[in-house]
Symmetry: C2
Subunit: 408 residues, 2 copies
């Protein structure tokens, strides 16, 4: 295949026009949208409006006048088609870790007599830390970590919550959410899913797959900006009986009554805690608008095609110089792929020096994320090309490159 043919693939991509919603620099191929999504063109003007007109001019009255008080729900509702949930099951709040803690604690409290939080050894560290932190407050509860393959058989009548990350941050391995929800429910366990590496890149059907609880990240595929607030999902059927121990005034049934006793709001708002950053919410709002008019099935189809194309291109050009460390079957993974190389860190630095931005994950993984809204076949093609050139010439050993590493 040559560059012209690759460009034909891009031209035929029905999501291609969406790329124009983003600021993308010439000379940079950005394959790290799974870590920090690219900047939408609408973000800076929207923020300027919120800062200069709303905050600057309307000041405190903006909480009502511009509806700031409802933004955590209003903005979350834009996620409904992206994750396959009802708008009233979603909320924007806090950070991913804080949201995980809240829902984990709420779930455990709703499962008296069950003592284990079942999770995966290779789960993302902050997920494990959230469970470990909760256990310091609830000595009767313990995180139980098992290898991936043992999960289904480890779910038992002592399992309070099955707590998993849908798409693994390294390998990209994707769990079968519907099947695990079913197994968990058969044992009376609740399920809490971390969707950080899924939402906005793979098709999610939280309702149809029987999900109880979920949390996801706003700054990866959702393009909400660095450290964007998280989102949380609580199935409608559970909202009445779950309660977050991080009770704060924004989650009160009547926040402006200033009552001394906490009474949780009757709906999803009970999972709010303190006053949310309106500026961070505004940026996430613009981030979610980049999904406007996009069918989530098209997102997943593009992710699959693009990652398959990239894997083939790398293997074609690099041969055995690097090994695929993600599943070959696109349905078994998310929208990023990893290759292993003993000099992975240096290889990624050399790629970045050439303007191909992915990242490195210990011990030896070079990771490439494909954001279906703005990455294309030509990006993948050039990235594979650069990787092949670097591996064949051991570019990271060159004096000039080492010099460059020192100054950056």
């Amino acid at each position: 295949m040559n560059l012209e043919q690759v460009r034909t693939l891009d031209a035929a991509d029905r999501l291609r026009p969406v790329r124009d919603r983003f600021v993308l620099r010439d000379g940079v191929i950005y394959l790290d949208g799974n870590s920090l999504g690219a900047l939408p063109k609408a973000t800076a003007p929207h923020l300027a409006e919120v800062v200069e007109r709303q905050w600057g001019e309307d000041l405190i009255t903006s909480w009502n006048k511009h509806g700031w008080i409802d933004w955590p729900q209003r903005i979350a509702a834009k996620l409904a088609p992206i994750v396959g949930a009802k708008p009233n099951e979603l909320l924007i709040a806090d950070s991913t870790t804080v949201c995980l803690f809240k829902l984990l604690a709420a779930a455990v409290a709703a499962q008296p007599g069950r003592s284990s939080i079942l999770t995966e050894e290779a789960n993302f560290p902050t997920d494990l830390y959230a469970a470990q932190g909760l256990a310091t407050l609830r000595p009767d509860v313990r995180p139980r970590t098992v290898p991936r393959e043992d999960i289904p058989s480890a779910i038992d009548q002592d399992t309070a919550v099955l707590f998993l990350t849908h798409v693994d941050y390294r390998s990209g391995l994707r769990h079968d959410m519907a099947a695990l929800n079913e197994t968990a429910h058969a044992m009376g366990a609740l399920t809490l899913w971390d969707l950080s590496h899924s939402a906005g890149a793979v098709e999610l059907e939280l309702n149809r797959s029987g999900c109880d609880l979920a949390v996801g990240c706003g700054y990866k595929y959702l393009n909400g900006g660095p450290g964007a607030p998280a989102f949380l999902y609580v199935s409608e059927r559970l909202q009445g009986r779950l309660q977050s121990p991080l009770s704060g005034w924004m989650g009160h049934a009547a926040p402006f009554a200033f009552a001394g006793k906490y009474e949780p709001a009757p709906d999803i708002r009970r999972f709010l805690t303190g006053t949310p950053s309106i500026l961070a919410l505004a940026a996430l709002d613009a981030g979610l608008d980049t999904f406007g008019g996009v069918a989530v099935a098209d997102l997943e189809a593009k992710s699959q095609e693009l990652t398959r194309f990239f894997i083939e291109a790398v293997e074609d050009r690099c041969g055995s110089e690097t090994q695929l460390a993600s599943p070959r079957d696109p349905k078994a993974r998310g929208s990023h792929v990893c290759f292993a190389h003993p000099q992975g860190y240096a290889v990624m630095q050399a790629l970045i020096a050439r303007g191909i931005v992915g990242d490195f994950r210990p011990p030896d993984l070079i990771r490439f994320g494909f954001a279906p809204l703005y990455n294309g076949y030509e990006d993948a093609w050039h990235a594979a090309d650069a990787l092949a050139a670097i591996l064949s010439t051991r570019e990271w050993d060159r004096p000039r490159f080492l010099e460059w590493q020192k100054v950056t």
Copy 2:
């Protein structure tokens, strides 16, 4: 006194030039900076730089290139002279409520055998809710609320933490922090102070007054923007033995080692949880810069003068139409004052219609905050004038005003 004399007071105010650091609209007198601080002129350009150049161009590399990873500490260090603490005792993180929960939980865990969180009946609701939420996870611990005057005698050997708000959000009453720290320490209790209505308006000496723990709000007198992140303070002497149960990857000793077991950072960073919003941090950074070159003693002196001037002006013009609901002695309160009026809500609406923006707090309080960085004597003079006119004419009963209320 006439307007010319009032303007002479403003001209003599050594903080007067600082007012030019803020966007202040013609026709609006903003007396709600204790709820949402005014917009600093530097905020919009700084945010544009962070969004367009750092996020937009440097993308994921900004975490190192622009030092985003250190912003929670770097920005918090600007608070050191404002609150009288060492830079390494401060951190920007989460919301006020989440920070209160973290430090409360950490303090209680460090006080085995002590079962009460002693607080004040009239404490700000979210503070009470944080304690109530913690008690759902720690049934061996209970919030104990007492009337203000009973606090010193209620501190006993069962008190794990004395948990108070320094300046009351309604009355403005200010606790004697040093004396209460001493009483608490004599009984072996720790102290946690909510500084939301103090920081940036009254002189604080967290170190010298023997404070153990504190949390404050970024969006009031610190001008960090709507819902700005909070700050937290942990005395250096306690950092090694306190640990937050909201353990997350940003608080790990080695966040990028991706270890499965949580090991808290050796220093103040252990109180970080998830990834912070960089945009929210950027706005708070610009907010804190408005304090550049300002001595905190001058802040407090100006607050005292200005609020005393306002109280006198109101009493002089309004007579017995409204009653002061804050201490007359400025050293006994913060930088806001409340007056009581049976039609308080309607009176405040009428003031806002005239461009005098304060707020209402149930059941009958009209509240006026004086931000020493940008409010002046002329603001106070016009506000008292407008209040007198409204009270004498019962302006809120007029048909035209009622019409106006309907449309806003």
